[in-house]
């Protein structure tokens, strides 16, 4: 399998809920994902013909992640890293443009972020049969007052070429 760094960047968005301290009982453990891969679990595409797979993700409420193209070099972009299985060629992955976001703590700044649900479009060519497309979405999230270390959300799609 060929390891591919496809692209992307996640940004952080704002949360209007009050600050939670790390040691408080209901604070999220360090391993909790701030972004989830929603769907598809399985997709059928025409064999040996260019197709597009839409991968849906959701950023937790009150958070934002940097887009694939953040405004500042120091910010960590959202990236998708996938294993390209035999029989499935990934030509490219399109990331949506980020939306402008000015944090309350720095209203003059404009960040390029994803919030809520966003969709990546993978352009693939699949041979006949089943192929497991696996990878991770690397992102870095923030809320209204804090930023969290970069994390990786697992992604898995069963691609059926017919």
């Amino acid at each position: 399998m060929r390891r591919i760094l496809v692209a992307g960047l996640l940004t952080a968005s704002s949360c209007m809920f009050a600050q939670k301290l790390a040691w408080q009982s209901n604070a999220q453990p360090k391993t909790t994902q701030q972004v989830q891969f929603l769907l598809p679990e399985q997709v059928t595409v025409p064999a040996r013909r260019p197709s597009t797979i839409e991968m849906h993700f959701r950023v937790n409420n009150g958070l934002h992640i940097n887009s694939h193209t953040p405004q500042e070099k120091s910010l960590i972009p959202t990236q998708l890293m996938v294993e390209e299985p035999a029989g499935l060629k990934i030509e490219a992955v399109d990331f949506p443009p980020g939306t402008d976001y000015s944090p309350a703590f720095s209203p003059s700044d404009k960040l390029s972020v994803y919030t809520g649900e966003f969709v990546l479009r993978a352009h693939v060519v699949a041979q006949a049969g089943e192929h497991l497309l696996q990878g991770t979405l690397r992102y870095q999230a923030c809320d209204a007052n804090s930023c969290y270390p970069p994390k990786k959300a697992p992604v898995a799609v069963n691609v059926v070429g017919k």
């Binding site: 009050a18 600050q19 301290l21 703590f105 003059s108 960040l111 809320d143 804090s146 969290y148 270390p149």
Partner: protein
């Protein structure tokens, strides 16, 4: 008919008028610049004040069930976990070497936008309270490549560049992740621990807090009143 003498007088008068005009214009420009600068400073002060006012209080207002006990770090009242980390010049720095001083242990990262907001406040507060025995240790949690020397050097250079750009004049220590577990698992940034002169943690904050709150915690650390 204009004679040679009267032409000289006319030229001199014209020159005097020109000099006078230049002086008047320069004076007007200076007054205008002064007024503009004053207005800009006032606007900036108002903006900074507004930004502080927008910050949420330390206590989560939306969580009615949260108690004071919930909001306090379990480390408060306990000795600050000891550590030795490298600074940006490769020099080993230990927390123990600051015993007798009040220290703010400030976990941050170059990619953390709220950290950039509080940094100028920290610089000012350090200048203000350093004569009373106050110091800040910036603890960078930026990833450092430990397998690739070249990449490791690049990672360190990025942190150093950030410190220069932000005009940080207090020590910035690297590889903060190696001590975050001792400090209760630092996840959200910025996170700060306020250590009194005896080495005891007297306050802790997670996330961006307003300048007044940080100053109150610094005073608490200087007073050495352990929780």
């Amino acid at each position: 008919m204009v004679t040679g003498t009267s032409r000289k007088i006319v030229v001199t008068m014209k020159r005097n008028h020109a000099v006078l005009l230049v002086l008047v214009v320069a004076l007007v420009l200076m007054v205008w610049a002064g007024i503009t600068n004053y207005r800009h400073r006032k606007a900036e002060e108002a903006r900074m004040h507004e930004m502080q006012a927008m910050l949420v209080p330390a206590a989560p207002a939306s969580n009615a069930q949260a108690t004071d006990e919930d909001e306090r770090s379990p480390l408060e009242g306990k000795p600050a976990p000891a550590f030795v980390l490298e600074d940006l010049n490769g020099k080993k720095v230990s927390l123990a070497s600051y015993k007798g001083k009040a220290v703010m242990v400030n976990f941050m990262a170059t990619w953390c936008a709220p950290c950039k907001v509080e940094t100028p406040w920290l610089i000012q507060l350090r200048q203000q309270y350093a004569p009373q025995g106050f110091e800040i240790l910036g603890i960078s949690t930026d990833d450092l490549d430990k397998d690739d020397k070249k990449k490791n050097a690049e990672d360190k250079a990025e942190i150093a560049k950030y410190a220069v750009n932000m005009h940080i004049d207090y020590p910035v220590l690297i590889d903060g992740d190696s001590i975050s577990k001792q400090y209760g698992g630092v996840d959200a940034l910025p996170t700060s621990f306020f250590v009194d002169r005896t080495g005891k943690i007297v306050a802790a904050t997670v996330g961006l807090h307003d300048r007044d709150e940080l100053e109150a915690d610094i005073k608490k650390a200087l007073a050495g009143q352990g929780a």
